[in-house]
Point group: C2
Chain length 145, copies 2
DNA sequence: ATAGATACTTGATTCACTCAAGCATCTACC
DNA sequence: GGTAGATGCTTGAGTGAATCAAGTATCTAT
């Protein structure tokens, strides 16, 4: 499991293709994470840390409760993959940064997660453009602030 | 959270479009499930029950441990959404079936999960075909039995 | 007739997630 | 300048998903 599974009754061919694609993407993501001893949530968080960022901000970006982030970051910190720094101007806030280990591990994870790369590799430049355009157009049909 | 978040460093435009699409799909799926008091895993399982199916088979389809299914099915059964029937020929096996309530709830869930429908609604028939074709072609690049 | 495979369950653990409280600090307003 | 309320984070309690290791019952094949 570990990965959402879509409606079995997907009616149109396009809907089924979307589902298969999403399912494969999710599975590949999880597999790559596990290969590096990361959970999906941990890989997720680690991936956001390209810049210094506060817990609150992180929680908002990921759409979850701040206390959830506290835990995940604590586990990452215990493995010395991230560190909490004091915010220079606001002593309530903790800025999270990746350690060199964290950066290296995340790079290795992305390297393993070849799904998106392999997927596009099979398409010509023109097809890639088309796909991106169609996906965006499809997404626009689904209003979502 | 609750939903995988892709590589922030996605390099090409097509890769970013894929990620955005997958992310939106997953979030929509979870939201629809929650609206009906289902977890993603529960919606997932419920969706597979278009036919009578054993626990083992279910676990294999979803790629998880049988004991995981035991738990999820137990929770669904407690809400009278599914039932365990004895297998006619094999007394070890339990056949899971949706109750009428389960079927109704799942139908309502699918109704709520308008993501795929909305997404395709925005595309012409020709574009839908193109998208399906491109997604399949992209998927083929990612070998995965 | 029994040895081993198979189907499911139980129990123990871990992690993700949410909510409610709590503490420290910041901000605004009087 | 001091206090009220907002904000940032943590802690604790509770639920669910997931995995693994064992255990029981039943089936299969020799």
């Amino acid at each position: 499991m570990a990965v959402p599974t879509g409606p079995v009754t997907a009616s149109t061919d396009a809907e089924r293709a979307m589902f298969d694609f999403v399912d494969a993407y999710d599975r590949a993501y999880e597999t790559a994470a596990l290969e590096h001893g990361l959970s999906v949530a941990q890989a997720c968080v680690l991936g956001r840390l390209t810049r210094q960022i506060g817990m609150r901000e992180l929680a908002d970006e990921l759409g979850c409760d701040a206390s959830n982030i506290t835990q995940i970051v604590s586990r990452l910190e215990a493995r010395d993959l991230v560190r909490r720094h004091p915010h220079p101007d606001d002593r309530r806030s903790r800025q999270i940064v990746r350690t060199p280990d964290g950066t290296a591990l995340y790079a290795a994870f992305e390297e393993s997660f070849e799904f998106a790369r392999s997927a596009t590799a099979n398409l010509s430049a023109r097809e890639q453009d088309q796909l991106a355009t169609l996906l965006r157009k499809a997404l626009n049909g689904t209003a979502k602030p």
